[in-house]
């Protein structure tokens, strides 16, 4: 595991996301900043994974369902020893395997390729079902965007996992309240969001998605103590850490310029 503290890891993730999206002229910088603390919690404190053996059979499974924030996952993996941070320079480059949406081919530690929304919770549910079927102790995690809760397939999985009381399944939702064109409330309101998950048979907690300690407390649960899947609604700020990117849909798509990168790096490095 990493030598970094979790807050150092989240800072590194943000720095990498800014540099990768700048260098690659790629989208979704604000999404990557939004999930940085959740990933720092997962890779710094919660997930039982082994960077020296990415295919370790007893590892926890983490499915990045919001694949568009793939840069942040690559950053987290590189800083926790799955591969060298220097590899991140290949992000978005011709011939590289570091695609904009997270992809498992050629990238150690990436469990599942995603990008089309609404896939990850089903896959994680299948993994959790399998762990239970064979009596394995590992857990299955899925990190979802709020926007992908527009997808019906997310709720198919929620219904199944609730019905089958999949206590080894943990969903965490990056609830930054912005999606591609506007806020979630302006697009398809999710509220009452927590109530929906409760109604589907989930145990729900809401956390400050930028407080790593709080996130980890929500995520690091013992399935044996529980009788239902856990949903962690992480209240986040899209573009968190860079004042001019926060809560601005522009940064769902626009990569930072040279000048903006310098300003942004200074802010996240404080």
């Amino acid at each position: 595991m990493t030598e970094l503290t979790s807050s150092e890891l989240s800072r590194k993730i943000r720095q990498h996301v800014l540099r990768m999206t700048h260098h690659g002229r790629s989208s979704h910088v604000a999404s990557g900043l939004s999930v940085a603390d959740i990933l720092a919690s997962l890779y710094g404190e919660v997930l039982r994974v082994d960077p020296s053996d990415p295919d370790w059979l007893d590892r926890d499974r983490f499915v990045m369902s919001k694949g568009h924030a793939g840069a942040a996952v690559y950053a987290a993996l590189s800083e926790t020893g799955f591969f060298s941070p220097e590899s991140l320079a290949a992000h978005y480059q011709n011939g590289s395997t570091f695609s904009g949406h997270v992809s498992h081919v050629g990238v150690p530690g990436v469990e599942v390729s995603t990008g089309s929304l609404g896939h990850g919770l089903s896959i994680a549910t299948g993994m959790a079902w399998r762990a239970r079927a064979v009596g394995a102790g590992w857990r299955a995690y899925a990190l979802l965007s709020d926007g992908e809760c527009d997808e019906g397939s997310t709720w198919e999985a929620a219904l199944f996992a609730g019905h089958h009381r999949m206590s080894n399944l943990i969903a965490v939702i990056d609830y930054n309240k912005y999606q591609s064109l506007a806020t979630t409330d302006e697009t398809l309101t999710l509220e009452p969001f927590a109530d929906k998950w409760v109604a589907f048979g989930w145990d729900v907690i809401e956390v400050d998605g930028h407080d790593i300690e709080e996130i980890s407390a929500g995520l690091d649960i013992d399935p044996r103590d529980r009788d239902r899947p856990r949903c962690v609604i992480a209240h986040t700020i899209k573009g968190k850490g860079v004042s001019f990117m926060e809560n601005n849909v522009l940064w769902h798509y626009r990569p930072p310029s040279d000048e903006e990168l310098a300003l942004a790096l200074a802010e996240v490095s404080e």
Binding site: H119, T125, M127, A128, W129, A140, E156, F160
Partner: protein
């Protein structure tokens, strides 16, 4: 076919605890023995094909050998992206089983006809596509799917199909099987049309037209060399399928012939490229689309006259 599939699947499941069957809330009257014998290996995903398929991928990634099951159009088209992204891209050991391929659920209406499934499935890289021609072929391809694994799409007929093969034929993955050798016309069949094609060949024989009959259960990988060989040794090639003439067996054969430079003409017999809005049982709808022994032999005779 369905009966043979479930019998053989259950046999395999009894000896392999990693084998899992997921149904999309279908299979009343046929899944019960499996559920009774191997309850821990059975999941009813409910009426939720996208989740069924995504979960199947997740289970397979964690070591299971998964079969998803529903009426052929549902586990293919309703969840196409889950098949493409989650199952095929990850090389997951998932076999998608579609029952009632073609017009088998005829009178239930257009929503329950699977007439584009082969075309859609065979466009996905890494996904094997197989439509056995009779119960014996079903047993053979299922054995291959269990041993070599998915990703794959297994398209079954429904029930009561006549066995054409006397015993389990050798149809290793990607291979067609020749049932009889002739000299004039090569009849290539996939899926449940096989008995009809054999009957049509008998009729042609009575008319003095010598037919080769080939069953091509595997559409992907496709037995291209057999198609090329047949084209070089016959005056006419005819593909027969209970599927749209666009993109299925006929499409696969056309691609091979066009690129081979063969002069052998191809006639594709299948479901015409339009929706069925009339009600009818499978036999009736086959008549509508010219998928009967009489219609096939008549069209072959006419085409040979025109060459």
């Amino acid at each position: 076919m369905r009966t043979r599939f479930f019998a053989d699947l259950l046999t395999a499941a009894r000896s392999d605890p990693n084998l899992v069957l997921i149904t999309g809330d279908l299979g009343f009257g046929v899944v019960e023995p499996f559920v009774e014998a191997c309850p821990a290996q059975f999941v009813n995903a409910g009426v939720a094909e996208q989740n069924m398929t995504g979960m199947a991928a997740g289970m397979a990634m964690a070591g299971a050998k998964v079969f998803t099951y529903s009426i052929a159009n549902f586990p293919t088209m309703r969840c196409l992206e889950q098949i493409r992204n989650d199952v095929a891209y990850h090389g997951a050991d998932v076999v998608i089983v579609g029952v009632g391929g073609g017009l088998a659920y005829g009178a239930l209406g257009m929503s329950h006809h699977a007439t584009e499934d082969i075309a859609v499935m065979r466009a996905i890289p890494g996904l094997a596509v197989v439509a056995p021609g009779d119960p014996e072929e079903t047993g053979a391809v299922l054995m291959d799917l269990i041993e070599r694994g998915g990703p794959a799409y297994l398209r079954l007929g429904k029930a009561g199909e006549r066995s054409v093969h006397a015993s389990r034929p050798d149809v290793a993955r990607g291979q067609a099987v020749t049932l009889r050798n002739g000299t004039d016309v090569a009849l290539v069949s996939t899926g449940a049309m096989l008995p009809v094609v054999v009957d049509a060949a008998d009729d042609l024989d009575q008319l003095g037209i010598s037919s080769t009959v080939v069953s091509s259960p595997w559409i992907a990988p496709f037995d291209e060399s057999t198609v090329r060989r047949l084209a070089s040794t016959h005056r006419l090639m005819v593909t027969v399928e209970e599927h749209s003439i666009t993109g299925g067996l006929g499409g696969a054969a056309a691609e091979v012939l066009a690129e081979s430079g063969s002069a052998c003409p191809l006639m594709r017999i299948g479901v015409s490229h339009k929706f069925n809005s009339v009600v009818g049982d499978q036999g009736y709808l086959r008549e509508v689309h010219g998928l009967t022994r009489q219609s096939i032999s008549k069209r072959v005779v006419k085409r040979l006259e025109d060459i």
